[in-house]
Structures are given as structure tokens and as C-alpha cells.
């Protein structure tokens, strides 16, 4: 039944978007947006009780499947909690997604050029667009990979940019993640869980699937692997089961059907990387590593690393193995470098950026520093080399004492900090403890795979700040996640006819049902009689 024939009634969910923030599902007056009409109807049908019940099943399923993360309680013991998935999905129209996708691909291409440039000719520095001091001072800048061009010329095979939606509806890039962006496993598991827990929500939508990500990643890794054989050996390298993201490492290895290795499984002989197997050493062509540069190779980076493989960078330099992401790529996700990405897009690609940055102040400039220190209560201050929301201070939410402390810290070492304008993150209805919907702030982390071309999985990880008014979405700090739907086409959320075009299946033999019946005994009797008659006939 098309929903457009009658105007949707004001929701009985008592949901009110909170001005001045943009709510992605409801208009300011509380009516659902056209794209969300069917979803809102289903949410009304389920009601708070239905949502709570589905939530209980979600928690038990996640616990059983081990989709958990560890938090340390007040007692100091860490305990497992089910991954916090909110049951209200976030819906993006197809046209919106096209814009995001193009913007991301552009950005990732530019960042890849930048990394290549920084470790080779440094043209962007010579042009005076990016100060060398900033690049060289970046903690993830790796001198030891200078002059190495990885197979295929790709540095950031896996990238995830954090996007936010401003109250005027525009998308902005908040951060680039070019080292080891994590969270893709939750995108896939969230979708699988949603389809099982609340299939009714999908009924009126055609949602683009996300499940092909592991195959995309595998073929990208194979495409950059320096292998003359038809099938390159690819491995996923994990720091070990103690790592917080171990679930994701194992998930990706299993989904790709490749080995999950630890440092003790790997060995370099004559500049070639091998893994130890029951049948001797087996050559490895491509490594998807899930640990930082620092720990990769004790001969080149931190000498005290117990997680590294000695000689790996030499093998990489010799071109016998592809490493994803390439060592030294982390320079591209430094928060000070972030400021220059729009310039990079113009410089390397000759294009205008499709996705904008959030206004950023580099504090190494004394004038800017003074200006920023004046208005610290209106800005967000972030350390440049950190991730996961650590050390971030949001001015408007901070206490006066906190701001004063931050002022002193920043002044003592301004190069380690940046300041950004406060972004009014959009909200999406989220189920609270009583089963009712409340506006909560969200961001979006789409995942891109760069092999022969750039592929971006429709949607991505939507992270949601579960506390009222909070804008910190990191899961380590009480954030949750949402399933992110990218619809098949932009405007029309309702299905035009059945999506399933059944072709006529081949004619199959009927199912048989065994039954020991009188009829068969009759047949048996007749057969015996027949046999008895035969000699006489």
C-alpha cells in the first residue's frame, strides 16, 4: 500500500526533535520525514514493549555469539557487555549516499597522493601548501619507509572517514582514519542482527546490502599482492586475543577465509615473508595488519615491540610483500594534517572538495593560538595524535575549571592540539531504557576499500551517543551504534512492486512421503501371488 496517498498522521510516539539540531527522521513539527514514514509506522506498531522485548533478545543473542566488548566496572574487574546496537535504524536516501560516496572517494584518493608525495618528492611541501615541520613532527610519520612505493601505488587500502551532519543538512568530515579503522565487523553484524530481530522494519524498504565487504577487501588485497601465481596468500595479522578489536580481526579472517596470524606465526627469510605451517614455511604475499606501525618491526620501529616481525619492513622495501595499510600511512590521519585535506584535493586532483572540513584552528600559529584561547568555551579542543575520543574537551559542555586547565596545557605545547568549531551533530530517534524514543546525536563512519578502484560499502557504522545531550559517540565512552540503511533509490521509500522477480524454477520431482500402508501390503500380496502364478503360466 503506497503511503503517499494519505498524509502521515502526527506520530503517536510523542517524539519531539530537539532544536536547533537536525533530526534525520522527523520534521521540526514532529511529523515523520517522507523517507521514514513506513519505519515510523512499524515503530508505532511495535510500541515500547515490543522494542524492549527485541532489545532483550538482541542482548542475549549478542552474548551468545560473543559480539561483546569489555568494560571495566567500578570494582576494577572488566566484564563483557553485549555490543550496544540501537534498534532504530538510520535511513539515508540513495541520492544522499551518492554525494557522500563521491566525496569520500575523492578525499581518499587525495590522501593517498599525499602519502605518496610525502615519502617521495614532497611537492606539496615545496609548493608551500603544507609546512614540513607539521609533517615531520607528526608521530606517525615514518622515516624508514621513505622512498618506498608499495605495489599498486596504494597506501591506504582500508580507510574510514568520520562524517557528521550539520544542522543545515550538509555533511562534513570530522576525522580521517587511515591507520587501522575499525568497526566494519559491527556494520555486518548489526545488519544481520536487525534482519533477525526486527524484520518488520525492513518490510517497506529496499536496503542495500553490506555483506560483500569481506570479499571486496579480499580482492583488493589480492590485487595489490606481489604474486606471480594466480592466487596470492593473504593473511590478517592481529596483535592477539587480548586486543580490544580481536573480535573484528577474527571476523574478517573467517569471512575472507584466510589465516589469522600473530607475530609468532610470521618469519622473514631473505627479505621474503613466510608463515609457519604444519607443512613448513609458506610464502605470504599480502598482510592486512591490525596493529600500529610502532609495533610492526622491532628493527625499524620500536625496538621493544614484542608483537612485531623482525625484518618485515625490509621485505616490504624489497617489494616481496604488500602491507595494508602501508607503513607510514598514519601521517594522513593526523589531526593537524586534516586541516590541509581540502588543499590536497585541489592540489593533487584539481577538483573542488565535495565534502567540507569542520572549521579547524592550528594552534602552532601564535596569533591563532591567542584567538582560540580567548574563545575556548565555544570550541572543541583535541589532541592531534590521539584517537577514540581521548583527551577531547568540548568547550560549551566543560566546567570553567576544566577550560582553565586546558588553557594552560595548550599554551605549554600548542603544536599537540587543534581547536575546532562545535558541530551540531544531527539526531536520530534512539530507544531509551523505558522503550521510548529520544533524540540522540550520531555520526557516521563509512568504510572504503582501495584496491584497483575505490569501493565504499553502502552506509557504514553509525555511532550514537546514548547519553542525553552528549556528543561523544565513541564506544569506549558510552556510545552505541545503529544499523545504517542506504536505500535503493532516493525519493520513493516504498517498494514499487515485489522486489523478487521469480523466474520459473525448473520442474522438480515431487517430494516423497514414506508410509507403510495397507495399500503397500496389498501390492506386496499381489506380487507374491503373481510370483506363485508365474511357474504355472
Amino acid at each position: 500500500m503506497p503511503a503517499s496517498t494519505h498524509a502521515p498522521e502526527p506520530a503517536s510516539l510523542h517524539y519531539r526533535p530537539r532544536a536547533p539540531f537536525l533530526d534525520e527522521m522527523f520534521e521540526v513539527d514532529g511529523r515523520p520525514r517522507p523517507v521514514a514514514t513506513a519505519l515510523v509506522r512499524e515503530l508505532e506498531r511495535m510500541g515500547p514493549e515490543g522494542l524492549l522485548e527485541a532489545g532483550r533478545r538482541r542482548d542475549s543473542v549478542f552474548m551468545q555469539q560473543g559480539i561483546t566488548f569489555e568494560t571495566s566496572g567500578e570494582s576494577g574487574y572488566s566484564h563483557e557487555r553485549p555490543f550496544p546496537l540501537d534498534l532504530v535504524p538510520r535511513v539515508l536516501s540513495g541520492s544522499e549516499w551518492v554525494e557522500i560516496k563521491r566525496g569520500l572517494a575523492q578525499r581518499i584518493r587525495a590522501l593517498n597522493h599525499f602519502v605518496d608525495d610525502i615519502y617521495h618528492a614532497r611537492e606539496i611541501v615545496r609548493e608551500g601548501l603544507v609546512p614540513w615541520r607539521l609533517v615531520a613532527g607528526c608521530p606517525h610519520f615514518a622515516r624508514s619507509v621513505h622512498g618506498i612505493r608499495p605495489p599498486g601505488g596504494v597506501y591506504g587500502h582500508v580507510a574510514g572517514c568520520d562524517l557528521v551532519r550539520h544542522s543545515d543538512g550538509s555533511w562534513k568530515v570530522l576525522e580521517d582514519n587511515m591507520r587501522v579503522p575499525s568497526g566494519i565487523s559491527y556494520v555486518l553484524e548489526n545488519r544481520a542482527a536487525m534482519a533477525r530481530l526486527v524484520p518488520g522494519m525492513f518490510a517497506s524498504y529496499r536496503v542495500r546490502p553490506v555483506g560483500h565487504y569481506p570479499q571486496l577487501l579480499l580482492s583488493a588485497l589480492r590485487s595489490v599482492a606481489p604474486s606471480t601465481q594466480s592466487e596470492a596468500t593473504v593473511v590478517v595479522w592481529t596483535p592477539g586475543p587480548a586486543n580490544a578489536a580481536y573480535f573484528e580481526h577474527a571476523f574478517l579472517a573467517r569471512q575472507m577465509g584466510v589465516e589469522l596470524v600473530e607475530a609468532s606465526d610470521l618469519v622473514v627469510r631473505d627479505d621474503v615473508l613466510y608463515m609457519r605451517t604444519t607443512r613448513g614455511l609458506d610464502r605470504v604475499h599480502a598482510v592486512y595488519r591490525r596493529l600500529d606501525d610502532d609495533f610492526m618491526d622491532p628493527l625499524e620501529f620500536r625496538p621493544d615491540s614484542m608483537l612485531g616481525v623482525p625484518g618485515l619492513v625490509r621485505a616490504y622495501r624489497a617489494g616481496s610483500v604488500a602491507i595494508a595499510n602501508a607503513p607510514g600511512t598514519g601521517v594522513a590521519d593526523d589531526k593537524a594534517i586534516y586541516h590541509f585535506v581540502p588543499e590536497m584535493i585541489r592540489f593533487y586532483l584539481g577538483e573542488e572538495p565535495i565534502l567540507e572540513n569542520v572549521g579547524t584552528f592550528l594552534l602552532s600559529d601564535p596569533e591563532v593560538l591567542e584567538h582560540v584561547l580567548e574563545r575556548l568555551d565555544e570550541l572543541v579542543v583535541k589532541p592531534t595524535g590521539e584517537s577514540g575520543g581521548r583527551g577531547v574537551m568540548i568547550g560549551p559542555h566543560a566546567q570553567e575549571a576544566e577550560i582553565e586547565r586546558m588553557r594552560r596545557v595548550v599554551r605549554s605545547d600548542p603544536g599537540r592540539w587543534i581547536a575546532q568549531d562545535v558541530v551540531r551533530l544531527s539526531t536520530v530517534p534512539t530507544v531509551d531504557a523505558s522503550g521510548t524514543l529520544q533524540p540522540r546525536h550520531v555520526d557516521l563512519r563509512p568504510f572504503a576499500v582501495f584496491g584497483e578502484r575505490i569501493d565504499i560499502v553502502p552506509g557504514g557504522l553509525t555511532r550514537v551517543a546514548l547519553r542525553e545531550g552528549s556528543m561523544i559517540v565513541n564506544s569506549s565512552q558510552g556510545g552505541g551504534s545503529k544499523d545504517t540503511w542506504v536505500l535503493e533509490d532516493g525519493q520513493d521509500a516504498d517498494r514499487a512492486g515485489p522486489p523478487v522477480a521469480d523466474t520459473a524454477p525448473p520442474t522438480l520431482p515431487d517430494l516423497r512421503y514414506g508410509a507403510w500402508t495397507g495399500q503397500q501390503q496389498q501390492q506386496q500380496q499381489e506380487r507374491i501371488e503373481q510370483q506363485q502364478q508365474e511357474p504355472t503360466a
Binding site: 522485548e53 577465509g257 535503493e488 522486489p499 514414506g514
Partner: protein, 311 residues
């Protein structure tokens, strides 16, 4: 030596158990695939319509969701999962003296659990997931109890043989509906659903390096002997079961026929080039399985031809 009637019941007990499990698997996979839309890939024809054709009975003109529901918990529909479970329970009752008490209890509990629909939210709109999950777990339990508690005698052979022939028949049905040949882009999508339906996704990834597209998946499900639910592996085990149960396997039609089919599959696996069309082989194999079924009832069940009727 055992009663023909008992052998017949055990054989069909095995068949009904396996059929219930694979019905549940197929329905859940198709439900999930239809739910999540066609996406950037071509649309799905391994859908509810294909499933109804696969599991027989009247294709009632209803929308996909209802059709799938009726394939799970509609006891009136002979091809439904619940009907298979009920037949298995009825069959198990008649051989309570042959199977262990533990096994009877496992089967009976399954039927009672489904009948009562004890768990809230089993029925629509939450989809077939819960019921399907329950049946998969119960089947693992039932076969596990059978393997650990039954004597490795003729009775166990017939039970196993029924399970094996049904698994190969169901896998062939799914293969034929999902991958009817031609139109590779569409078939590639089906191949993934099919693998998930059978539960062989992980095994496939470990056994085959190629991405799960139509041809390699069809080959895997037909020929891969290392994968227990592939047709070739089932036929091999079927041969072992009949050879062990038969008094004179050297001149027993079912044994000889199964052994020829196993050799055929092995020959085709080696002789066929990659990418060769497999639809014909699937059809021929399924027909051969039907003949084996008839031979089995001729030879062991005193000529009780399998009823073609509803029950």
C-alpha cells in the same frame, strides 16, 4: 536381520529429520535474502516462489512472507517443516523399541516444542529465524544422540541412509532452483544465499579460494568430498550404509546403483572443466536418487513403493 517395516520406518525417520532441517535452513536463508533487498546486485529468484516449487504442494497465491511462514509452522502443508517433524515423531513412535529412549525423547521434545510454539515471537512478524534456529539445534542434538547411543547395526544404517539420501536430494533441489544455469550475475547472488542456506559458507571459504560465485559454489556442493553435506560426500556415505546393511551387497541393485552414482560424480568432478554447466548433472543425479529410492523399497522394504500421496 530386521523387520522390513522397522527398516522402512527408520529410513523415513532419517529422511524426515533431514528434510525438516533443510526446509528450515532454506526458508531462513531465503527470508533473509528477500528482506535485505536486491541491492546493487540483480534481483533474487531463489525466493519464496522458488522455494514453494522446491518443497512441492500448491503454490498458494499469497505474498512472500506468508508463503514462507506456511513452510515453517503450517502443519496442514505436507511440505512444511512442522509436518516433517510430526511425521518424524509419528515414525519414531513406531520404532520406540529400536531407538534409544534418549533419542525418542529428543525427537518428541522437538515436536512438542514446535507444536506449542512455546517461545514468544516465533511466528510472524519476527520471521522464521527463531523456529529455524531451534530446529537446527535440535537436529544436531538428535543426530548426536543417535551417533552416540545407537548400536552400529542395520537399524543405524537405515536411519543414516534415509538422512543421507534426503540431504543430497534437498541440496540438489536447492541447487536446481537457485542455479538453473545461464544468467551468471544473478546466479552469483543466489550462490551466496545457497551456501548460507546449507550452512556451508565457512567450509567453502576454507576449501575454495575462488569467491563464492555460481560455478565454484555449484561444484563445491556437488563434488567436494571433504564437505559432509555435498552430494558426492552423501552418496559415498550412502554407499557405505547400504553395503553394511545388505546381506549380499555384491549383487544388490541399490548398492550397485549408488556405487555407480558415486563413481559418476567422481568422474565428472575430474573430467569437467571449470565453468562447465552443471544443471544437467544436477537433474540426472536427482533422477538417479529417485531410482535408488525405488530400488531401496523394492529390495529392503518388501516392495513397499514410496507413497506419492500427501502423507
Amino acid at each position: 536381520m530386521m523387520l522390513a517395516r522397522i527398516a522402512h520406518e527408520l529410513y523415513w525417520l532419517g529422511r524426515n529429520l533431514a528434510r525438516a532441517e533443510f526446509t528450515a535452513r532454506a526458508v531462513e536463508a531465503v527470508f533473509q535474502a528477500e528482506l535485505q533487498g536486491a541491492g546493487e546486485m540483480p534481483s533474487v529468484s531463489f525466493g519464496s516462489g522458488g522455494l514453494l516449487a522446491m518443497l512441492g504442494g500448491d503454490s498458494r497465491p499469497s505474498d512472500g512472507g506468508e508463503a514462507l511462514d506456511s513452510l515453517i509452522l503450517d502443519a496442514e502443508r505436507p511440505g512444511s517443516m512442522l509436518a516433517s517433524i510430526e511425521r518424524a515423531r509419528a515414525g519414531a513412535r513406531t520404532v520406540r523399541d529400536v531407538i534409544s529412549a534418549e533419542m525418542w525423547e529428543a525427537i518428541n521434545t522437538t515436536a512438542l516444542g514446535l507444536r506449542g510454539v512455546a517461545h514468544p515471537g516465533w511466528e510472524s512478524p519476527s520471521g522464521p529465524h527463531l523456529a529455524s534456529q531451534y530446529v537446527k539445534q535440535r537436529m544436531a542434538l538428535i543426530w548426536g544422540v543417535a551417533d552416540r547411543s545407537m548400536l552400529r547395526d542395520e537399524a543405524k544404517c537405515f536411519l543414516d541412509a534415509g538422512g543421507l539420501i534426503e540431504v543430497s536430494d534437498m541440496v540438489l533441489r536447492m541447487l536446481r532452483v537457485a542455479l538453473p544455469g545461464g544468467d551468471t550475475a544473478r546466479a552469483d547472488r543466489h550462490a551466496l544465499i545457497l551456501l548460507q542456506a546449507v550452512g556451508g559458507f565457512h567450509a567453502y571459504l576454507r576449501a575454495v579460494t575462488a569467491p563464492p560465485n555460481a560455478h565454484p559454489v555449484a561444484r563445491f556442493l556437488l563434488f567436494e568430498r571433504a564437505y559432509p553435506d555435498s552430494v558426492a560426500a552423501c552418496v559415498d556415505s550412502l554407499h557405505d550404509a547400504f553395503a553394511a546393511a545388505d546381506a549380499g551387497p555384491r549383487n544388490s541393485t541399490p548398492v550397485l546403483r549408488v556405487s555407480r552414482l558415486a563413481a559418476d560424480l567422481d568422474f565428472q568432478r575430474r573430467a569437467l572443466p571449470d565453468g562447465a554447466e552443471l544443471a544437467g548433472i544436477c537433474e540426472a543425479t536427482q533422477q538417479e536418487l529417485t531410482r535408488i529410492d525405488q530400488d531401496v523399497s523394492e529390495r529392503y522394504f518388501a516392495g513397499a513403493a514410496p507413497a506419492m500421496s500427501r502423507w
